[in-house]
């Protein structure tokens, strides 16, 4: 595939105003599915089930089967709508979205069309540079997920060129809330960062509500990014019309969202600048190359033949229920951020580092798991971010907050040095188990046996008599050479401070002996 021509980002911004729109699908973690009593694989209890084992007749679209709405999913959707500042419908219906696809058992998806459960909201989003945006929310509606296709044969992993395809209906019927923003204007050069920060905020919200596991790498949270460019009007001229949009699918990490929006801005700008036109289409994001490629052409004329789902009654949330759920809402993310910053005693810079890394939830959960705020921040924004960058993924997908808290405790207890702790994190990220398990398996614990250290120190002092003399003469800094040698001999598994103490002690006593 020919690589698309890209315009320099700054140049693109000079000529065009980027307009973005984001659709985020949130998989709810209810125990059962949206319309069936089958276990929900988006609930941690049912992870990793064999294909086609979490299914009821409804999920397979068996003749005669009927959907029944999961009340818990409705309550979660209302909570989410309220957290997004939305109005909650007094009555809303499900609708059938009709299209044929083998991962869609009934060949229609039960969704909501013109009557979403939540509508007209707004979310405060703070960018890395401190800018604060109000992102307008058009609607949040309930629907069911489709099954999962695995295309076998062919090079692309896509249906085209595949020899055959396997269908797993475990995911069919997983409860989804789709959150749709209105067109977001004014992001300008920050538009890519705004997209990222918005999705990160949505993730914070659903985690604080406890309604989703919100793991992007598992598809609990999925983002489609709409991007269009509008030519800048000359001074005094009326605004140019909005441009044609593309919808980039499959953008499943914070990092990718930012990159994908940036890429689309540059790609579209290059086409428009040459007098070309943008095709309204879905585009696929390729994590490896950082590019998008055309998918299915899409137009407003796509005809899903929506009609009200006759198998289900309208959902009529009582005002009492809505108020009850509103009263139970957790703190909004912005307020929460202000509170946490104060509680943790972080400087602006330190706190911004956490927020910008999309690590607020991780740090908070790590603190909740027992680590000090400083330690939690240090590991997440330091080593884990470096590791995530190197592996081109999000830090949260590598280890859990509980892992980090455990690691911090091991360092605190003196079992690990920072250097060893970094190795342990790598082990945890590689799936070798919990920090303690990695320590045990790799034998990474600090040698705290003074006898072993003293033996190594004595050997080092004996082999460097000049250093010994210097220490004895009061040139304490000379001890560094011995400490280095000892650490090397211990393969780093020693606490450098303790080694230093012992070196000085042995130097003194060795001197006395002489």
């Amino acid at each position: 595939m020919a690589r698309a021509e890209l315009m320099d980002f700054d140049e693109a911004l000079e000529l065009f105003e980027p307009v973005i729109g984001l659709e985020v699908h949130v998989e709810l973690n209810t125990r059962t599915k949206m319309f069936s009593p089958a276990p929900n694989p988006a609930n941690s209890e049912f992870h990793g089930a064999e294909p086609n084992t979490l299914v009821a007749p409804v999920d397979l679209g068996l003749p005669g089967s009927l959907p029944v709405v999961n009340g818990e999913a409705v309550r979660n959707s209302i909570s989410l709508g309220l957290a997004l500042g939305c109005s909650i419908a007094e009555s809303c219906r499900f609708a059938r979205k009709n299209y044929f696809y083998p991962d869609l058992a009934k060949n229609y998806q039960i969704s909501q069309y013109d009557e979403p459960i939540a509508f007209e909201g707004s979310v405060e989003v703070e960018l890395e540079n401190g800018r604060v945006f109000q992102v307008p929310i058009e609607r949040a509606h309930m629907e069911e997920d489709a099954g999962k296709l695995t295309h076998v044969g062919g090079s692309t992993g896509r249906i085209h060129g595949a020899e055959y395809s396997l269908v797993d209906y475990n995911r069919a019927g997983v409860p989804l809330v789709e959150i749709v923003t209105k067109p977001i204007f004014g992001g300008e050069a920050d538009a890519p960062a705004l997209a990222r920060a918005y999705v990160s905020t949505i993730r914070d919200i659903v985690i604080s509500l406890g309604i989703s596991e919100a793991r992007m790498e598992r598809g609990n949270l999925r983002c489609d990014a709409n991007v269009s460019l509008r030519r800048r009007a000359a001074a005094g001229e009326p605004a140019e019309p909005l441009g044609t949009r593309t919808e980039t699918k499959n953008v499943n990490s914070f990092r990718s969202i930012e990159r994908a929006v940036r890429h689309e801005i540059q790609r579209q700008a290059a086409i428009l600048a040459k007098g070309g036109t943008i095709t309204q289409e879905t585009r696929h994001w390729h994590e490896d190359t950082g590019t998008t490629s055309p998918g299915r052409p899409k137009s407003d004329a796509d005809d899903y033949r929506y009609f009200p789902e006759p198998d289900l009654l309208p959902v009529v949330p009582s005002r009492e229920l809505v108020e009850e759920l509103r009263a139970a809402l957790p703190e909004p993310p912005a307020a929460r951020r202000r509170r946490l910053k104060a509680e943790w005693g972080f400087t602006d810079l330190e706190f911004q580092g956490v927020v910008n890394g999309g690590l607020l939830v991780e740090v908070a959960e790590t603190v909740a798991a027992g680590a000090t705020p400083a330690a939690a921040r240090k590991w997440w924004t330091g080593e884990l971010s470096r590791l995530a960058n190197a592996r081109e993924t999000d830090a949260a997908s590598l280890v859990t907050p509980a892992d980090v808290a455990e690691l911090a405790a091991l360092v605190e207890a003196g079992t690990l040095t920072d250097r060893l702790a970094r190795q342990v994190l790598e082990g945890v990220a590689d799936g070798e188990g919990s920090p303690q398990q990695v320590v045990d398996a790799r034998g990474l614990a600090v040698v705290s046996d003074d006898g072993a250290l003293v033996a190594a120190i004595d050997e080092a002092l004996a082999s460097q008599p000049d250093v010994l003399a210097k220490i004895r003469d009061g040139k304490v800094q000379a001890a560094g050479a011995v400490i280095g040698a000892v650490m090397k001999a211990m393969q780093g598994k020693a606490d450098a401070a303790r080694v230093r103490e012992l070196v000085l002690e042995r130097a003194a006593s060795t001197g006395a002996d002489a």
Binding site: P57, P63, L66, N98, P102, N107, D303, R305, P310, L312
Partner: protein, 511 residues
């Protein structure tokens, strides 16, 4: 002995079983024998599972012998329309596309009849996916009317009605989307009830039009229908549209039947020249009888009923086009692979081409069109408005009367093939039955006699407000008693003897 057993009503058979003077195995075997004898000629059944039926019957006999308290229909055989899924028993809905599919679960009404101790004999023939009024659209060949084997038994539930009329089963289950229980009852001299929408769970009923479908009883007497409705009705958490409230006993309503003071409205728009003369004369004679029994007959108007068929033939195909989308060969049923293989899209296309009959394709195309962007408001949207107007007609009428009365269908049974090439003429069969489905109200068809001009059965339909099914059993039970008294016996006693066919069938070795 066996001839005698098959002619008992379900209520009578239930009593004989309870008294221990007949066993369920004997009753079941008598019906299986009858099926073996006459079904070659009638073709009411698509599938008979005699072995399993006899096992169930033996189990009921054992439980009864052990002193277990059993319901009034325990041990009574029943036939099930093939639209209802049955665990471990083929369920095709009369379509080639489901040939060979064996469902892993029972429809709720089937589960309820099993829990009531009833003995499932097998599955009855129907128009494919319940689309039709003659059972000629079954992919497995038509069913023949026991009154005249050259005529249709009505549809879509012609198999259930014929099985009961031919004494192959004492009772059966049907489903009624626009008249598929009541119109077959009308042309076979049997009783058919479409309960209030939501009275009987639709779970496991292969959907034709979800907002219109309703499962109900197909029987020879009003009391049997009431006993069966008492078994199958009631809330089912698996069907969101099923009514949560409890129901009064319909059987009690029949036993206490009394029309004194009952106000019966005659819908003037459905009492016209468009109805066969014998249908109208029997209808009016029945009303006179009820009037003599103390009922008050009032003329009412339902001005929007005339738009019912037009609205129905938009709503039904629209919902059906979506409901039938699941038949795509991916997970169950027929799979046709084009020569040399093909993409999943091509396999789906080839399967649906081969698996669906012409009437089903016609309605899928109609419905897909009616739901299309740009046409939705004009077609589906307008049809829903008509539906509201029909509901208002009912509301206005029921403000004046307790029940409505109409002839069930415009004509007596027509000949096979007569209307097959004229879909519009076929659709007009349902003119009197469709309004009830659009409004969700209950309806019953009760035998009213034979049309003088052709000697074929005629039914009278009563309609009641939603949730007032008991009123239908009251008026139907009362009329049946008056008519049977007048006739000196049940109407079906006058049906032709099928024993000549029994001979023919036996000679041909049909089982």
């Amino acid at each position: 002995m066996s001839e005698h057993l098959i002619r008992l009503t379900a209520a009578q058979l239930g009593e004989r079983l309870a008294s221990g003077d007949v066993s369920s195995v004997e009753a079941t075997r008598a019906h299986l024998d009858r099926i073996a004898a006459v079904d070659g000629a009638v073709h009411a059944f698509l599938h008979v599972d005699g072995e399993r039926a006899l096992d169930t019957a033996a189990d009921i006999d054992r439980r009864r012998a052990a002193g277990e308290e059993l319901g009034p229909l325990a041990g009574v055989p029943i036939a099930i329309k093939d639209v209802l899924v049955t665990e471990g028993m083929p369920s095709t809905a009369g379509s080639r596309i489901l040939e060979g599919w064996v469902p892993p679960y029972d429809a709720t009404p089937v589960r309820r009849v099993r829990e009531a101790g009833m003995v499932v004999l097998g599955k009855t023939n129907m128009d494919e996916f319940a689309m039709g009024s003659s059972t000629e659209h079954s992919a497995y060949g038509p069913t023949y009317n026991p009154w005249d084997l050259e005529r249709i038994p009505g549809g879509s539930g012609g198999g259930s009605a014929a099985s009961v009329a031919a004494f192959e089963a004492p009772v059966a289950l049907g489903s009624d989307t626009g008249g598929s229980i009541r119109q077959p009852a009308h042309v076979t001299g049997t009783v058919g009830v479409k309960p209030t929408y939501g009275a009987v769970s639709r779970y496991g009923s292969i959907a034709l039009a979800s907002s219109l479908d309703q499962v109900g009883p197909v029987t020879r007497t009003v009391l049997d229908a009431a006993l069966l409705q008492d078994v199958i009705a009631g809330h089912d958490p698996r069907d969101s549209t099923s009514i949560p409230e409890a129901w009064p006993s319909m059987a009690d309503a029949v036993r206490r039947a009394d029309v004194a003071g009952l106000r019966i409205g005659v819908v003037k728009e459905l009492d016209s020249d468009g109805f066969q003369s014998g249908v109208r004369s029997r209808f009016h004679e029945a009303l006179e009888l009820l009037e003599r029994g103390g009922a008050e007959i009032v003329e009412v108007s339902a001005p929007h009923f005339e738009y019912s068929i037009a609205a129905y033939y938009l709503i039904l195909p629209a919902e059906a086009s979506s409901n039938l989308a699941k038949f795509d060969s991916v997970r169950f049923g027929l799979r046709v692979t084009p020569e040399g293989g093909g993409t999943v899209e091509q396999v789906m296309g080839a399967t649906r081409e081969a698996g669906f009959g012409p009437e089903v394709k016609r309605r899928i195309i109609l419905g897909t069109y009616a739901l299309s962007a740009g046409y939705y408001d004009a077609y589906y949207g307008s049809a829903q408005k008509v539906r509201t107007l029909v509901q208002r007609d009912f509301d206005a009428a029921f403000a004046k009367v307790d029940v409505l009365a109409t002839p069930t269908a415009p004509t007596t049974a027509f000949k096979l093939g007569e209307k097959l090439d004229d879909p519009l003429a076929m659709y007009l069969n349902d003119i009197a039955t469709i309004p009830a489905n659009l409004a969700g109200v209950p309806g019953i068809s009760v035998p009213a006699g034979l049309a003088p001009e052709d000697g074929l059965p005629v039914g009278i339909q009563f309609l009641a407000p939603a949730r007032e099914d008991a009123r239908l059993y009251n008026v139907g039970g009362a009329l049946e008693r008056l008519l049977v008294e007048q006739w000196g016996g049940p109407l079906l006693d006058r049906a032709p003897d099928l024993s000549s066919h029994e001979m023919a069938a036996a000679e041909e070795g049909v089982v």
